[in-house]
């Protein structure tokens, strides 16, 4: 599996209880030998594999999963995602929100230090945020995350305003005041995202072009610091003793080894050289009953994008409905993916957000939208052929070119062609980046796409398909849908229940009524995981894994 495939998939906060069990905080055997922090025993060194070299360790520039992961561990932002998935104290101890919800004032702790002994101050945040939106930095996520959220971010990123105009200000060294563009209910969750991490201005300026290129060009204020970076080979992160909460951190060392072949990773795990490695479908059957086997559910949803912009067959609603209901998603999830992934019947994932008034999740509330129903699909198909006045339809499907994706593509081809008579599906497998480009230029008919949230809010999914939205990329346009999303962001932004209802309604329109996309599955990843490695939490957005509270308990392994 190629990591580049995953870089869309980002952001903060955790997942509900079902994940907690996977995250190693379940009570496991072994007497607690030490204090309440529990059962740390043996060498506190962890070796894990990552699937690719990190393209960047600069928090303003990171775009991929691995870069996010390790900037998340080496820097501390205003808040950090805690065990329960909610933001917990980071550099900020707390904050006040003004009555109109537009001004957030963060009170920073005074004992936080950078690795070099400099104090971490409000100015570090101001500098980092300004740097992220500054067009000269050419950050992808800076403007993307801040525009429309922080006052003047859009104008600054387009070069129309000076960076100083950005709505962030250091009232004094330990008070940070942020002015928002509009009420943003999920802003607290955003502050855990890498783009919002602080930077030490004098260090960054002194390093210039070399900043974050090598281990010695990085400066940490987080739980870990990067001490070795052999490009393409491995990285070493050691406990950062100057971290304000260093007492909590138990791991002394994390080694991340670049391993691209799954079989190699499994072999390294077998010989004890790795404590955690992700595995592909082929290995799941072999390891599924072992103590070290684990699956971690992610809030990433995969779906078929259907380009409705041209006069092709997909502009026809019945064609889309036929396609959406034709694929046996159970088989896809259980046999082909075989890693704990499960069918998705909607855009917003399960175990992601819950109703403001009850514990009911989004998926439970909205039910299965357009689930697999081959007969209904064939009816829709018959109607579609009549409307199109033809009996053969040819459609091209864009997919990734990884081994896993090639299997999925072949499966879709077979499923659709078998169920929908007269359909010819031509598969075009391309590298991930190429797929993004073709999507961006709307040069495709069907595309197997995925989405992971950037922040924990249904809006992270729902705002994708507004008319002319940056990620719409398929010419979908429905006034009713637009109005609902608009309402959720504007009028009812401070009425959680109205917002919730608007999103539920919008999803129904998108998936059920218009069949604009065909949801496929919600991803889960299978791991071989040394049972001794505990206390690692999985984040729904931002960096994937949180090691701040992790520890090694050799006794638990037995």
């Amino acid at each position: 599996m190629k990591s580049k495939k995953l870089w869309l998939l980002l952001s903060t906060v955790a997942v509900g209880s079902s994940l907690a069990a996977c995250s190693g905080n379940s009570e496991s055997g072994g007497e607690s030998a030490e204090g309440e922090e529990g059962q740390a025993s043996g060498d506190q060194v962890v070796d894990i594999s990552i699937s690719d070299e990190i393209p960047s360790m600069d928090p303003s520039l990171v775009t991929d999963q691995h870069g996010m992961q390790w900037t998340g561990e080496t820097y501390e932002g205003l808040y950090r995602t805690g065990e329960e998935g909610d933001p917990v104290e980071g550099i900020a101890m707390d904050h006040e929100t003004s009555e109109d919800g537009l001004t957030w004032t963060f009170n920073l702790r005074e004992d936080a230090e950078w690795e070099n002994g400099d104090p971490v101050t409000a100015n570090d945040f101001v500098y980092a945020w300004q740097r992220a939106v500054d067009p000269d930095t050419a950050s992808e996520y800076g403007p993307y995350m801040m525009a429309g959220v922080i006052d003047n971010a859009t104008e600054v990123s387009e070069g129309e305003m000076d960076v100083e105009e950005l709505g962030v200000e250091a009232v004094d060294d330990y008070t940070l005041e942020v002015t928002l563009d509009k009420v943003t209910p999920y802003f607290e969750s955003l502050t855990t995202f890498p783009t919002f991490l602080p930077l030490n201005e004098s260090f960054v300026e002194e390093q210039g072009e070399n900043f974050a290129l090598e281990a010695e060009n990085t400066l940490s204020n987080g739980p870990f610091k990067m001490t070795e970076w052999s490009h393409g080979e491995s990285m070493k992160f050691e406990k950062n003793d100057t971290y304000w909460d260093a007492d909590t951190v138990q791991l002394s060392e994390i080694n991340a080894q670049v391993v691209k072949e799954t079989s190699t990773g499994v072999n390294l795990f077998e010989t004890g050289e790795l404590d955690r490695v992700s595995i592909s479908a082929e290995y799941v059957d072999q390891y599924s009953t072992e103590q070290s086997f684990r699956t971690i559910e992610e809030p990433s949803v995969f779906f078929l994008k259907m380009n409705q912009s041209n006069d092709g067959p997909l502009a026809n609603e019945n064609v889309r409905k036929a396609i959406a209901q034709s694929i046996d998603k159970e088989g896809l999830a259980d046999t082909i993916l075989n890693d704990g992934s499960f069918p998705a019947n909607g855009l917003v994932p399960e175990n992601f957000v819950t109703s403001p008034e009850s514990d009911e999740g989004f998926r439970e509330a909205n039910g299965d939208l357009l689930p697999t129903d081959k007969e209904a699909a064939q009816e829709a198909w018959a109607a579609a052929l009549e409307e199109l006045g033809t009996d053969t339809v040819e459609i091209e499907m864009l997919g990734d070119d990884t081994d896993k994706a090639q299997n999925i593509n072949a499966y879709f081809k077979n499923q659709l062609e078998e169920n929908l008579e007269g359909l010819t599906l031509n598969v075009k497998s391309v590298p991930f980046k190429e797929r993004l480009r073709l999507s961006d230029e709307m040069d495709y008919e069907l595309s197997v796409s995925g989405w992971s949230p950037d922040f924990v809010d249904a809006n992270s999914f729902m705002n994708m398909f507004v008319t002319d939205g940056g990620y719409n990329q398929m010419g979908y346009s429905n006034e009713e849908y637009d109005a609902l999303i608009e309402e959720a962001a504007g009028d009812s932004a401070d009425d959680p229940q109205a917002r919730w209802d608007a999103f539920l309604e919008a999803e129904k329109i998108l998936v059920e009524e218009d069949a604009a996309i065909a949801p496929l599955y919600q991803r889960s990843t299978a791991y071989l995981w040394n049972p001794a490695l505990q206390g690692v939490y999985y984040n729904a957005a931002g960096h994937d894994f949180e090691y701040k509270w992790a520890y090694v308990d050799e006794e638990a392994a037995e």
């Binding site: 079989s263 072999q286 009953t289 082909i336 081994d403 090639q406 299997n407 072949a410 499966y411």
Partner: protein, 384 residues
């Protein structure tokens, strides 16, 4: 030892008339160079075995898939990853082609290991037979149980036979392996044919005309040969998008240079031979000299060279598949099949074994046959 001393007598000898006719007679049937080469080749046992294997494999490439009722892209997830099951041979236990999926479960005791296995098989437990290998003494992995899981029965297809098993999507690997063989051979032959045409033409022209033409053409060739072929192939694939034709073209773009150089050298040598000069002197046109004298004489060289090109093209194709630049799904070649199998080398070895064996047999056969041909055409010919 007793010595006999005897004078030779005249009647011991018989006078033979000298027969002018008979002296000129050739006692054995006259053979052309080719007939001779073929005769030598037929006496070469390994080369013959190789030739027969190749013919068999090519035949299987065309007709193998008709022995199975499943198409190469026919999927059914309920028969995913079945192990091979071959009639008759299924009764020979060590061959392990009885459609059973055997795995060993370990735990502190055999009972617990079996419990573990039962969790894994869930509802299908009725199709599993357990054999205790060791009872276990309470230490980790000391209890071992072997589980034989009859996947065919579990999938309700006791009477079906998938000779090579199936893959994750439930596709019949027998059909796919032979279809893949056909595709791989097709790519290789196509690449070799392009090599042959371009290489022979280029080398022939350069060698035959000689002089300035030869000089320029060879300088150009030298520069081309300075470019690492692997890099060119990869660059070409990026541009052409993977497919049968584009892979063949990418392979041929660098492949013909070797052929051109060999042919040019040979033509240059032949051109100086007396019989060519004689033909020239008596006014035979170039066209005829090339067709009558040169081509038949470089034929052996061309065949041998082509024989070495084909396996290397197959090899390259497999290699491209491995680094992700091979054919697109659902199309299969031996390379993509080997690559699929490699991903699960330890879990479902049957996916790898069969295509890997076929690819190896093809490679070995071509190499051995080419060696044999070289020996028969010219025992002194050597690697270039």
């Amino acid at each position: 030892m007793e010595k006999h001393k005897q004078e030779p007598s005249a009647d011991w000898f018989e006078r033979v008339e000298r027969d002018e006719e008979k002296a000129q007679e050739i006692s054995r049937p006259s053979r052309t160079f080719f007939q001779d080469a073929v005769r030598v080749l037929f006496k070469n046992v390994p080369a013959m075995i190789a030739l027969i294997s190749l013919i068999l494999i090519i035949l299987m490439g065309f007709f193998g898939s008709s022995f199975s009722s499943y198409g190469p892209n026919e999927q059914a997830l309920e028969r995913s990853n079945l192990t091979p099951k071959i009639p008759v041979l299924e009764n020979i236990s060590w061959l392990n082609v009885n459609g059973m999926e055997s795995s060993v479960y370990e735990h502190v005791t055999a009972e617990q290991a079996q419990a573990n296995a039962e969790v894994r098989f869930g509802d299908d437990s009725e199709f599993v037979t357990y054999t205790v290998l060791s009872e276990g003494d309470g230490s980790p992995s000391s209890g071992q149980v072997r589980a034989d899981y009859d996947r065919y029965a579990a999938a309700g297809m006791e009477d079906e036979y998938f000779y090579f098993g199936t893959d994750r999507l439930g596709r019949d690997l027998w059909t796919r392996a032979w279809e893949g063989t056909k595709v791989s051979l097709y790519i290789a032959f196509l690449a070799a044919a392009i090599d042959l045409v371009v290489g022979v033409a280029y080398g022939g022209i350069s060698g035959y005309y000689g002089g300035r033409v030869d000089n320029y053409m060879m300088r150009f060739l030298e520069i081309l040969m300075g470019i690492p072929n692997l890099v060119v192939v990869i660059l070409m694939i990026i541009i052409l998008e993977p497919g049968i034709i584009s892979i063949a073209i990418a392979l041929a773009i660098t492949g013909w240079t070797g052929m051109a150089r060999v042919i040019r050298g040979e033509v240059l040598k032949l051109k100086g031979q007396e019989y060519v000069m004689a033909a020239k002197t008596i006014g035979v046109p170039d066209r005829k000299i090339i067709a009558k004298h040169l081509i038949p004489n470089v034929m052996g060289l061309i065949i041998i060279n082509t024989m070495f090109t084909i396996p290397s093209a197959i090899f390259f194709e497999a290699f491209l598949s491995f680094i992700g630049l091979g054919l697109q799904a659902p199309e299969a070649s031996l390379g993509t099949l080997v690559n699929d199998g490699f991903k699960a080398l330890t879990t479902t070895p049957h996916v790898l074994v069969f295509p890997a064996v076929i690819i190896s047999i093809i490679m070995i056969s071509f190499n051995v046959l080419a060696d044999g041909l070289r020996d028969s055409f010219d025992p002194k010919m050597r690697d270039r």
